[in-house]
């Protein structure tokens, strides 16, 4: 089990940086004060240029202000920033070495022009690559133009307009970190009490920046995970959504089946689509469909035609795909459905994380419609589980739902790069013998049928959503429906032989077994580690395979006095475990705030359970 340390969102360091005339000190101070008022402990670090007025746009003229804030006591402003606000290329250059791996860079795209790139001594038109920040999350915002537009009715001269750019950036960052604007409004009113026009224009720009962030649903990385012990090797930084996309690419190459993605843009899953759209060099076919339903049904068509077929979405999109998943279950075609979960129900909290689609993934379809359900647990292991979801789908002719979440999808971590040679083989069940071929003849061990695709002479057959017999023809026979319903369920259960045994963090018996699944892993293991360091008898079992569960699950559960299941919903996995393994008693710790657990929340719930 991988040991990791989580840097939580409440310990984020933000660095505001621009020309010394850009007002970055004021911006940083106001954000710090607003954060302090919001209840955060803060620590700040102004970084003035030595020359107060070095030439504009040059690296020497950059002024910065870093603030670290959190709920815990903060003693330092943070060695490295998680978020950099860069008002020009020089600010990027001056601060590149202070960036945390996987951080976010918000920058004024209007100022990243040829002239300013030259002033900052960049030699190419890709400054991010030059300072080795090309794997960071980049948020280009045309701050200059938007500020100009914001103030067009104020009759201000150009200089005054440009001086307000910092307020736009401040408003945007306040949106991203949930800071209310009241305090800053009041500050501006007081400061410019004698110049109400100036106060009004600054407040206008501040609010426009805030609303821009809201309209574009700009997000921040929720967390950054660092390996506790770093193995030797070559590393790169990777986000969960990119890792998912790359895992699918790896599975395609390994299986020899071309990759097809049918998808419709939806927060926070869209990045998988855009990442794969970029990979035409590897022959990926991405199809941006007219809706979620066409996303999955085009993928089902591609699967019928012999591709590794995938659709990607988030909660509401999964709901729209339900009927089509049922078709993939009935027709028994390989299909990977990736659900990057977000807060629900309905449109819910699109930019916030949650684990509340578990039951939808397991059961959210008409009829008895079993699918394999797999969940990734860290940003980088999205690669592995996307690979495994594809392997299971292709080898067992079954739809697989891969659950990640907004927290994993947007979060990133350093990742030891694997080689293709290290990954296990994938052997799609291609039909080989045309004589007596039957579309639904099965491997007696796995119950998987064979895959014969258009273009294979002698294998012509028909499949569909109606109940069928072994040849694939329609059958309304009562006994046949019972047999096939049992087969479809058993076929999913038999995937268990591809599922590794559940590993424990901690002792294999004891007082409390902490159970988690999916994206809560970083916090779960941090909590378990701290509890164990305090001498408590606590172990962690974290699940990646939800259906089927690992073979040794019952055995593992039986060795603990108390079991507590932690998840970001009202108890869906706990409820599932109660129905599948009813012999155990399950306590719960749940959270539905659109935020990850904190380590402390998990620890407190364990303390409470141990006192009972």
């Amino acid at each position: 089990m991988k040991d990791t340390r989580v840097i939580e969102m409440e310990e984020v360091a933000i660095r505001f940086s621009g020309d010394s005339g850009d007002g970055m000190q004021l911006t940083g101070t106001l954000f710090s004060d607003a954060s302090a008022l919001f209840g955060n402990d803060i620590s700040t670090f102004p970084d003035y240029p030595s020359e107060i007025r070095a030439p504009q746009g040059t690296v020497g003229g950059v002024s910065g202000f870093q603030v670290q804030f959190g709920r815990k006591q903060i003693n330092t402003p943070g060695d490295y920033a998680h978020v950099l606000v860069a008002m020009n290329p020089a600010a990027l250059k001056a601060n590149a070495r202070f960036m945390n791996p996987g951080g976010t860079i918000i920058y004024d795209s209007d100022s990243f022009n040829e002239k300013n790139l030259a002033k900052a001594n960049f030699s190419t038109d890709d400054p991010f690559a030059e300072v080795k920040l090309d794997d960071h999350v980049k948020v280009p915002v045309p701050i200059t133009e938007l500020t100009r537009e914001s103030l067009k009715d104020f009759g201000l001269d150009n200089k005054s307009v440009l001086r307000s750019k910092n307020m736009f950036a401040l408003g945007l960052v306040c949106w991203m970190f949930n800071r209310p604007l009241d305090y800053i409004d009041e500050y501006i009113k007081a400061k410019f009490a004698k110049k109400p026009g100036v106060a009004e224009s600054n407040i206008k720009v501040l609010h426009d920046g805030f609303n821009y962030g809201m309209n574009l649903q700009h997000m921040t990385p929720n967390f950054i995970v660092h390996p506790a012990e770093i193995e030797k090797g070559t590393y790169r930084n990777i986000s969960g959504n990119v890792a998912t996309a790359w895992g699918l690419l790896a599975a395609s190459e390994k299986s020899g089946r071309p990759l097809f993605l049918g998808s419709y843009p939806i927060t926070p899953a869209t990045e998988i689509l855009s990442t794969l759209a970029e990979r035409k060099d590897l022959g990926v076919k991405t199809f941006q469909a007219e809706d979620e339903i066409a996303g999955i049904t085009s993928a089902i068509g591609a699967s019928f035609a012999g591709n590794l077929a995938v659709t990607t979405t988030s909660g509401p999109g999964l709901a729209l795909k339900s009927e089509a998943i049922g078709l993939a279950v009935m027709a028994e075609v390989p299909l990977v459905v990736v659900n990057v979960q977000r807060g629900g129900p309905s449109t819910g909290l699109p930019t916030k994380t949650e684990q509340s689609d578990l039951l939808q993934a397991l059961y959210g379809r008409n009829g008895e419609s079993p699918v394999v359900v797999v969940a990734a647990s860290t940003p980088s292991d999205c690669f592995w589980y996307a690979f495994m979801a594809s392997k299971i789908a292709l080898e067992r002719m079954v739809p697989v739902i891969l659950l990640t979440d907004g927290f994993l999808g947007n979060g990133s971590e350093p990742w030891k790069i694997p080689t293709m040679a290290e990954l296990p083989p994938i052997t799609p069940r291609m039909a080989t013998n045309a004589v007596n071929f039957k579309a639904y003849a099965r491997d007696p061990k796995t119950l998987a049928r064979e895959w014969a695709i258009p273009g294979m002479a002698g294998f012509e057959h028909r499949i569909g959503g109606l109940e069928k017999n072994a040849a694939g023809n329609v059958s309304h026979d009562p006994d046949n429906h019972q047999i096939n319903s049992d087969i479809r369920e058993n076929k999913v259960q038999r995937v268990v032989d591809l599922v590794p045994d559940l590993e424990l963090y901690g002792d294999e018996d004891g007082e409390v077994l902490l159970i988690g699944w999916g994206g809560t892993y970083g916090h779960m293991i941090s909590a378990a580690r701290e509890l164990r360091e305090e001498g408590r008898s606590v172990s962690l079992a974290h699940f990646n395979y939800i259906k089927p569960l690992p073979k040794n699950t019952t055995e593992v559960f039986g060795k603990f006095k108390k079991i507590i299941v932690g998840e970001l919903n009202l108890g869906q996995f706990a409820g599932y475990l109660r129905s599948v393994l009813p012999q155990f008693s399950y306590h719960q710790v749940n959270k539905l705030k659109g935020l990850p657990f904190t380590v402390d929340e998990i620890k407190q719930s364990v303390y409470k359970l141990m006192e009972e």
């Binding site: 690559a129 770093i230 590393y235 930084n237 035409k280 066409a294 077929a309 499949i463």
Partner: protein, 338 residues
């Protein structure tokens, strides 16, 4: 491929065909099978994809690869089939409920993208499989089980949707005219892009005779205009009538020899005309003011999605350095931990 010799029988599956006796679907399937037998395409290269409805049982009766999917989504499934393997000859079978109602969105987007598929729209202006409810092509005021006092909505004209979605191929046939259907299907198969063929189909049980006014052998010469590319738009028992422009630029029926009209005044059909005005006017002609237009109404050239998609992939592959997943994994910003 010229050496491939098939007969109609080679395209029939072992399954018993279960449409109602007298159903118009039989003749349409027959025309499809005749067409496929004659195209010189190996049988394993055909994929027939359908949605839900009586006509959508079609794939089960074919000996090709087939997929009977879910309601309204055949167009989207077929898009995926074609994009996954552009070498296939993909045929979509849909009806007025499947294609125009629940699948309306996928239909227009398929046409807009111009994916190289052949779509046959069985239009009987009724829901047959669910036993007689009105459909999106049912005429205003028509009484059905769910419109006992007549519908209060106007129908879609499928050809209008096709042109509105920038369609490159639209044709219209009648179930009973197998010869016409076959020639249209052959033209559709040769077209690069989305070919939509509306076939007026008779549902003997729930909407029997709905197209009789047009198809009745006694009157059909007067009420049908069978279009042929490059030929004047003539109809009538002795081809004595034709379509002309009136003085406001609208279509009008004229009789040769009356009011000084000669054969030279009759419009000549040009299926390749990109500007859609005349094609739209032909689609809109309705009995009794006009004969109903049949045949290939529109067949124009435009970029084809699947061709462009493959070309783009090839182009990118020639210029990029990443050739395999190992290249990708090592690309960009990496660092060594010793």
């Amino acid at each position: 491929m010229a050496d491939i010799q098939y007969t109609v029988k080679d395209f029939k599956s072992e399954n018993e065909v279960r449409w109602c006796p007298g159903c118009g679907d039989y003749a349409i399937m027959n025309a499809v099978q005749r067409t496929m037998a004659g195209l010189g395409i190996p049988r394993e290269m055909y994929a027939v994809i359908s949605g839900i409805g009586c006509s959508s049982r079609f794939p089960y009766y074919m000996s090709t690869f087939g997929f009977h999917t879910i309601h309204g989504r055949a167009t989207a499934v077929a898009s995926g089939v074609k994009l996954a393997n552009p070498d296939l000859s993909v045929w979509v079978i849909t009806g007025d409920g499947d294609g125009m109602a629940i699948g309306g969105n996928h239909f227009i987007h398929l046409v807009r993208r111009n994916i190289d598929l052949n779509l046959i729209l069985f239009n009987n202006k009724i829901y047959g499989l669910t036993k007689g409810q009105y459909s999106p092509t049912t005429d205003r005021g028509f009484k059905t089980k769910t419109s006992p006092f007549g519908t209060v909505e106007d129908p879609f004209v499928p050809g209008q949707l096709v042109l509105g979605a920038r369609g490159t191929f639209f044709a219209r046939s009648i179930d009973s005219n197998m010869k016409l259907s076959q020639s249209i299907f052959e033209s559709a198969a040769s077209h690069k892009g989305t070919s939509v063929v509306e076939v007026l189909q008779n549902c003997v049980i729930f909407n029997d005779g709905i197209h009789d006014a047009i198809t009745d052998p006694q009157f059909r010469a007067e009420r049908q205009l069978i279009l042929e590319h490059g030929k004047p738009m003539l109809f009538g028992a002795n081809n004595e009538k034709g379509i002309v422009f009136d003085n406001r630029g609208k279509l009008k029926v004229a009789v040769i020899g009356e009011n000084g009209v000669t054969i030279d005044d009759i419009l000549v059909h040009d299926e390749t005309e990109v500007e859609p005005t005349v094609h739209m006017a032909l689609i809109n002609m309705q009995y009794p003011d006009f004969p109903v237009a049949f045949g290939v109404i529109r067949k124009v050239t435009a970029p084809v999605y699947d061709v462009e998609m493959v070309a783009q992939i090839n182009q990118v592959q020639q210029t990029r350095k990443i050739k395999c997943v190992d290249d990708l994994l090592k690309s960009g910003n990496t660092w060594e931990v010793q």
